[in-house]
């Protein structure tokens, strides 16, 4: 296993750093249902880490534990070398974690630009009255943040829909806007919940390109959940496989692909 040393170098020559986030023996229950059973794994700086598994395996729950939305009954979450206490979502965001959602959660009536600007809220220090007056500090602050947002709009190639209300956009573009909003927060750790769900091949290729570019250009650590095995194997550096709330595999895409337990979970086992 990789835990024995600090960092490693990927096949394409990227240097992966030390542990950013560590999940230690996490167990999460909803009443009598055990969604996650004693799972441990880590996420290292600069890597693309995937969590995969069949439906109902507990992937989204795991992501919600990472994002601090769910507090596990047992186990510890370590972030940047410190044990993380239970937190409210905005405190998690302040720590540099941003996410996208499986079923898009944008403000439908607002324009793309406004939606992406909401990603900058953590960087806005002026209060509602200053912003209403729109003088001096508030104006300067908005200009500064708009600049950061425009760079992301350029990066994700959504200039042509800058002023379009989100409700009028097709699904694939909405997903990209959501990614833009998450990026606007300049996260250290980006969580993507099924970024390719429901996309056609071309849209998936575009999205994969963007995810790789984000990782490459900004050095953002990315943890993602994805169903499309082809995409996962191409994109990620290391993969955690879950099934019925348990971890059944962890390693590079190749290791995981050849893991008998993983093959059984995905293809099923005969019961004779």
């Amino acid at each position: 296993m990789l835990d024995s040393f600090e960092g490693y170098v990927t096949e394409d020559g990227r240097k992966i750093g030390g542990v950013v986030m560590e999940m230690k023996n996490i167990t999460l229950r909803f009443g009598g249902v055990v969604a996650i059973k004693d799972i441990s794994f880590d996420i290292r700086e600069g890597e693309i880490r995937a969590i995969i598994g069949p439906n109902g395996a507990g992937k989204s729950s795991m992501l919600n534990v990472i994002s601090g939305f769910y507090v596990p009954q047992e186990g510890e979450v370590w972030f940047h070398g410190a044990k993380r206490p239970p937190m409210r979502p905005f405190e998690v965001a302040q720590q540099g974690i941003a996410r996208t959602f499986q079923n898009i959660a944008l403000f439908e009536g607002m324009s793309v630009l406004d939606n992406v600007m909401t990603g900058r809220l953590g960087y806005m220090k002026t209060n509602i009255f200053q912003q209403a007056l729109w003088k001096g500090k508030a104006e300067a602050e908005e200009t500064e943040n708009r600049e950061a947002v425009e760079k992301i709009i350029d990066f994700l190639e959504i200039q042509h829909i800058r002023k379009t209300p989100v409700s009028r956009l097709p699904y694939g573009l909405k997903k990209r806007v959501e990614l833009a909003r998450a990026l606007a927060a300049e996260p250290k750790l980006l969580l993507l919940d099924e970024p390719m769900a429901g996309m056609n091949v071309e849209e998936k290729e575009d999205m994969s390109r963007f995810i790789l570019d984000v990782n490459d250009e900004f050095g953002t650590t990315i943890a993602l959940i994805e169903h499309d095995m082809g995409v996962v194997m191409d994109l990620s550096d290391r993969v955690v496989v879950m099934d019925y709330g348990k971890k059944i595999g962890d390693g590079t895409p190749d290791e995981v692909r050849n893991n008998q337990e993983v093959i059984d979970a995905y293809l099923g086992v005969s019961h004779d």
Partner: protein, 657 residues
């Protein structure tokens, strides 16, 4: 023709014009580009400084006099600067179509022997690297957009910004050399090399000298009284001669501002924001805009719709006359002014034509209704006829003499003649020097006296002196009964219906004509939406019975109007198919400037043509398609063949007379 050596007003090259502009009106805007949501601006003085840095950078990486520098990318100031900087160091800029697939690009790069390539982004760099595997001639690749480029091997690669910085840091070493090279440029040196897309055969490299470019820019600017206050939007492919003349030739001659859109997708928004005073677009752009307006009017409230139709009817009556300066009654003038306030003005603003002073459409015939629609709004849209080999201008329409069916009078300093076979020839200061490394083609196109054969058939109207184009000379043929076959005439009539995007007519040497038709997905898709017609794909829409019925009605209407023309009544469409795929440049069916390659289409779809002639009710076919990244696939379909009613030819009329 007077052969001056000193150049027009002493200006013998684009770098010289740049120097003049930077010293005489250095503070006026020269380039704007929308980036990060804001229009960034460079004055002539700033642009001159940037271009000089770039030229120094070229010296730094070892560009020699006479080298070719290919430029592949979308319209951006940096790419225009690269071309002028290339001229400064004595190199020849060769802009290429950025949407070409690697194999097309390989041919051109090999043919011109480019040692340096300026690429817009990673996509273009990847193509050049792929080509380089077999070619081994490119010494250095430069790129504008740094995104995704970090991991590449940079031993023979650099960002444009970086060589500019290196060049200006080392300016002390290169200044003398650069000034020497700028001073050495003569009026007859090559200014640019442009590859014609060619409706037949391989592309040819058209060599244009400084003389060609500067004289043409000067003459055409004077023709339309262009000043340095114009604003143009540069969005057409940089490899196309028109863009070179408008965005560099005329821009440098007049000193006006070139505005570059943020991306290809934002062109319409950017057009509205800039509101160009001088504009150029192929008919397709105007058609698309008109279709959009009509679709939006159909969705508008009844008051708006009534106002629109009422005032548009009035504009149709008097708008064109007003624009031509013809007399119009006082009452009509007042109503037009009211219309301008309520309808025409806001509409022009929405389209981005609020400041439109003069503009051209060319490349293809434009539908008279479309042309008149814009003219009637008070938009001074005109037609011109040109070629790469002529440095664009052959004929243009002067203000006040604009008609939909002609392409105007000879441009200043252009001589025109029509030979016995009907082919148009011209001679002008803009006539190209040669086809690069292709003396045979040069000789067969340009004769010893400098006359160039256009390959188009046409005639000069006695009454007005205007030129009218009939068709490509090689496409004009004869039907089996000896009557004339001019496919474009019929195709254009059909293409004027918004539902129809493209038509190819066959019938040369046959007893009757048949046609391929492409529907316009936007117009037909919108119609389908409004009429609750469900469809899952383009292919399904093309075979929908109601779509076929509509197209059949269009064909039959056109047949009626074709029958009225004595000379061409034999060209009526007897049978047709609606094709299951759009004709596409990636599949070689069209040129990059979107002209149909007739022979290629005829060969590729020979099975469908055979079925059209043998009377079968439908035909099953499999067609190879190429995706944007060069991969190939195929689609199969069974196409229904439709019989259209034809009108007995005009012979009855002859008999009756």
């Amino acid at each position: 023709m007077a052969q001056t050596q000193s150049g027009a007003e002493g200006m013998t090259s684009l770098p010289a014009l740049l120097h003049r502009n930077a010293t005489q009106f250095g503070d006026s805007p020269a380039y704007r580009e929308k980036e990060f949501g804001i229009w960034q601006c460079w004055s002539w003085a700033e642009a001159a400084a940037e271009i000089r840095k770039l030229a120094l950078g070229f010296l730094e990486i070892g560009v020699e006099k006479g080298d070719h520098i290919a430029v592949i990318g979308r319209n951006r100031p940096a790419h225009y600067w690269s071309m002028v900087a290339a001229q400064m160091v004595g190199a020849v800029p060769v802009p290429l179509y950025q949407d070409s697939v690697a194999e097309e690009m390989a041919y051109v790069l090999e043919h011109c022997g480019a040692k340096y390539v300026v690429c817009g982004d990673q996509e273009q760099v990847d193509k050049v690297i792929e080509i380089q595997e077999n070619l081994h001639q490119v010494k250095h690749i430069l790129y504008t957009d740094k995104r995704g480029m970090r991991k590449y091997d940079h031993s023979q690669m650099n960002a444009l910004d970086d060589i500019m910085a290196e060049g200006s840091a080392g300016h002390a070493r290169f200044d003398t050399e650069l000034d020497k090279r700028i001073a050495a440029i003569t009026y007859d040196d090559t200014c640019v090399m442009l590859y014609t897309s060619g409706t037949t055969g391989k592309p040819k490299g058209v060599v244009l000298s400084n003389r060609n470019v500067i004289e043409s820019a000067k003459n055409s600017s004077e023709f339309d009284h262009l000043t340095r206050n114009e604003d143009i939007l540069s969005y057409l492919p940089m490899a196309w001669v028109g863009d070179f003349i408008f965005s560099i030739g005329q821009a440098y001659w007049c000193g006006f501002c070139v505005n570059c859109p943020e991306s290809a997708d934002t062109m319409m928004t950017d057009l509205r924001e800039i509101g160009p005073t001088y504009f150029f677009a192929p008919p397709r752009v105007f058609e698309t805009q008109l279709t959009n307006v009509m679709i939006r009017m159909e969705d508008a409230g009844s008051l708006k719709r009534k106002m629109f139709h009422n005032f548009m009817a009035h504009a149709k009556k008097v708008g064109g006359l007003l624009l031509d300066g013809k007399p119009v009654s006082f009452g009509d003038k007042m109503k037009y002014a009211l219309g301008n306030l309520l309808v025409y003005g806001p509409l022009k603003d929405t389209l981005g034509y609020g400041r439109f002073r003069v503009g051209y459409t060319a490349g293809e015939a434009i539908g008279p209704e479309i042309f008149d629609f814009y003219r009637s709004l008070g938009i001074n849209l005109k037609q011109l006829y040109g070629q790469t080999e002529a440095t664009v201008f052959i004929t243009q329409q002067p203000d006040g003499e604009v008609r939909a069916d002609t392409v105007g009078v000879p441009s200043p300093a252009v001589e025109l003649k029509v030979d016995d076979s009907g082919e148009i020839h011209y001679r002008s200061p803009g006539v190209f020097v040669e086809y690069y490394n292709n003396p045979d083609s040069t000789a067969s196109t340009k004769d010893a006296e400098g006359w160039v054969a256009t390959g188009d058939a046409g005639f000069i109207e006695e009454s007005s002196g205007h030129l009218r184009i009939i068709d490509r000379a090689k496409d004009v043929g004869k039907m089996a009964d000896g009557s004339m076959f001019a496919p474009k005439y019929v195709e254009n009539k059909l293409k004027f219906y918004p539902d129809i995007l493209e038509v190819v007519l066959f019938g040369n040497g046959k007893d009757r004509c048949v046609a391929f038709i492409n529907i316009d997905l936007m117009a037909v898709g919108n119609w389908a939406e409004r009429n609750n017609v469900a469809y899952a794909s383009y292919q399904e829409l093309t075979s929908h019975p109601r779509v076929l019925e509509t197209i059949k009605a269009h064909v039959e209407e056109v047949n009626k109007s074709v029958a009225a023309d004595e000379m061409l009544s034999g060209c009526q469409v007897h049978r047709f198919v609606v094709l299951h795929k759009e004709l596409d440049a990636d599949d070689g069916e069209m040129t990059r400037t979107r002209k149909v390659r007739r022979r290629f289409v005829e060969e590729k779809f020979h099975d469908i043509i055979a079925a059209l002639y043998d009377g079968s009710p439908n035909v099953s076919t499999t067609t190879e398609v190429t995706y944007e990244d060069g991969r190939k696939g195929s689609i199969s379909a069974t196409l229904q063949i439709i019989d259209a009613a034809v009108v007995p030819a005009a012979q009855h009329k002859v008999a009756a007379e």
